[in-house]
Symmetry: C2
Subunit: 450 residues, 2 copies
């Protein structure tokens, strides 16, 4: 059963520490999964966290280190000596090890690397060369590879040797004498074929791989599309250099989906509820300033129409401004969300012209329903029908324009290689506010002849 | 290398069909991955799609079927006989098979099940019992299990037998004589231990499992937290009944993250860019109607202040309405997005009181910066300072209230077991519009004494 995190666990830990009962504490802690321990260490008093960390062996603490939130990890690493850090890193797989090394302050980085076990250090230094947004940046060096000329028997013997240094065996890759990736050996075919069979005859050559410099978003898409648990990475000469596992990619998929929502919500950076106030201000203020400028822009448009405030019938137009901006905003955000998610999932196909027609048709339908409600409201309020119709027709126009802006601005950005999610949320609501108010007053002016 | 979908492939297929060259066509198609073929079948003329589908064997077409978009799958299934559908389903793993059966029209369901291979049918019928939002609803029956009393040698022999019916071997589970899950056998330990060793001595008893009735979101969280590729599912008596693989969960993780964004963007259902206009209207109109009612509510609030339209100084307040509603909306959406993502990732810890203080502090900082810009704007526009200050202080108040609504409405919903994402986007912007306008005019009224 998954561990249920609760206050009793923390209380028990604190009691054992108070009683200086390291033996029982160790026994208790080894029973807890490293992911749960990371959660606990993030919760409790920092000194207790360091105490616990130093009590456990590096096999466990290295796993904890990876699961910790960034802040706690940084603080704990500061409490460790160079030798202790090197021990932690030696216990990690190369991809995680490289991530930790990359986070170290510059002056500690080289000293730590010098302390690492030689073979491991070579792999890590190699991984540090790659941009963290590429396949190379997320891959690990641990993999089991066998030569196509071996028999299953030789292969199992070699695998036994290689597997000793690897935590989880995901897949067995087949390479030729030049290390070029030829295919994949399934556990199933190994289990169901005679051990004397040569690998050449049983491996599956239909193996999907990515190049080291492939973008990590693309890597995530490939793994998702082909339902892969592990994906081999090859260099420019098609030589097998590493593998990416799905657990790393799950985080990327989630981050990408969350990033779109954050941008749509007007958050500039990846801010989280437990960030500092300063980080939150930095993440939130820029979009608010944009919104403020939009609002100030509206002041000028509305000023242009201030004389109608003297007209008993026309001044009511001002009361509809919040309705118009809300509709323009909501429609724009809906359209942009559909486009941004569609682009992320490769669903935006077909011609732009068809999409334009579809958005207009959709807006007209939504607009007519909403306009009927407006006219009904106008009848109840005893506005004259001309006035209600003017508001209704303005609303339809605003909805059409808003949905077109919401649809096409992201598409255009995407075509120019800019993240379309940038043009959602505050960007769309701000521009649609201004366009909406402008259209609303001008159409009313034409229809009501003022 | 991942397949690059292009128009040449489709052209080539069309040429081969026109030339009635089924042999070359088959050869060509077998080389294409089923996920790519599914993409192609979704693109090309439907009759050509059916032709291709019938040309391929059920081993390949069953895989294609799973990857097809819902519409194309439904249409293709309609073109198949009961016997053909049963062949497709027999070629699928139980979880996918159950999904397809569940999608069939009621009258075909039972007839198809009657045609299935008996053992497979039993598993599928069993799976159909579970709610699709639970672990039981996403698990598959295929797994390799060994008895704790066997030796590795017996175990490998049994695995060879069981593996013949299973496509991908992810993990080997250890059960006792009553089928109760005891642990997991790693490929590594099998590779690195003597074949005579009894399983009892080498299996890992620290296996994480979920109950069949566990919510699928919770399943996704468990797999993510513990970096699992496959997760065993047990029934109420702890007996091993199935397994969930990460590829199914990746889709859930993505859907959940996307669902939050969709709700925030005012989309009621899971609408996509290529849905029909009717589906799009159904997904979008309800939130727009909510926004409309909010807008009509604002009409009444503003009417209350219509007399100040006669006052040259005070009427300028009306020009700031779009700014106030934009700020209230943006701040509310930001706050709610942070809370909703925080709740989804278990980051909302600590007391509500601290969170309240933090939001207020944050709002005051953002509010002061924005207010300074307002005062500056007022100076440029030669408003009197009292007026600018009234607008500025109203703005700060609106921002504080908006951020509190955005933060606490989702938290309260979450505590009551309601999806907090419902209280984002249009819900927050609409309520914040109304509160914003109300607060703005009342604070201005007090400060400017009208």
């Amino acid at each position: 059963m998954p561990f249920e995190f609760n206050k009793n666990t923390i209380l028990e830990i604190q009691q054992l520490i108070a009683a200086k009962n390291d033996i029982d504490l160790s026994v208790m802690l080894t029973k807890i999964h490293h992911a749960d321990l990371a959660e606990i260490l993030g919760e409790i008093d920092f000194n207790v966290a360091v105490y616990i960390f130093k009590l456990l062996d590096s096999k466990k603490t290295s796993d904890i280190l990876i699961e910790l939130d960034d802040d706690t990890r940084e603080r704990i690493l500061k409490e460790l000596s160079i030798k202790e850090i090197a021990e932690e890193i030696d216990a990690l797989e190369t991809d995680d090890a490289a991530d930790i090394i990359a986070e170290l302050p510059k002056d500690r980085k080289e000293i730590v690397i010098a302390q690492l076990e030689a073979e491991h250090a070579k792999d890590i230094v190699d991984l540090l060369r790659y941009d963290e947004d590429t396949a190379g940046g997320i891959m690990g060096k641990e993999l089991i590879k066998v030569n196509e000329n071996w028999s299953i028997f030789t292969c199992v013997r070699e695998m036994r040797k290689q597997a000793q240094n690897i935590d989880k065996v995901h897949s067995v890759y087949v390479v030729d004498d030049h290390d070029i990736l030829k295919g994949r050996l399934s556990l199933k075919s190994m289990l169901t074929t005679s051990t004397k069979a040569p690998i050449k005859t049983i491996y599956n050559s239909n193996v999907i791989s990515v190049k080291v410099n492939e973008d990590r978003e693309e890597v995530a898409k490939v793994m998702q599309k082909y339902d892969l648990v592990v994906l081999p990475v090859v260099d420019e000469m098609s030589r097998l250099v590493g593998k990416i596992t799905i657990d790393d990619v799950v985080d990327i998929i989630k981050e990408e989906a969350e990033k779109d929502y954050q941008l749509a919500a007007g958050l500039i950076e990846d801010v989280e509820a437990d960030d500092t106030i300063f980080e939150l201000v930095k993440g939130r203020l820029p979009w608010l300033v944009l919104g403020l400028f939009g609002g100030l822009g509206s002041v000028f448009i509305m000023q242009d129409f201030e004389e109608i405030m003297q007209n008993d019938r026309l001044k009511t137009l001002f009361f509809f401004i919040p309705l118009i901006t809300a509709m323009a905003g909501n429609v724009g955000v809906q359209s942009s969300a559909i486009v941004v998610q569609g682009l992320a999932n490769n669903l935006i196909k077909g011609s732009l012209w068809n999409r334009l027609l579809k958005e207009v048709a959709l807006s007209v339908i939504n607009g007519i329903v909403l306009s009927l409600l407006i006219v009904l409201f106008g009848q109840i309020m005893a506005y004259d029908l001309n006035f209600s119709l003017a508001v209704a027709i303005s609303l339809i126009s605003v909805i059409i324009i808003a949905s077109l802006i919401g649809t096409f601005v992201p598409i255009i950005l995407h075509k120019r290689g800019i993240d379309p999610a940038l043009a959602t949320g505050p960007f769309i609501t701000t521009s649609n506010d201004i366009f909406g108010i402008f259209i609303f007053f001008y159409i009313a002016k034409i229809m009501l002849e003022f």
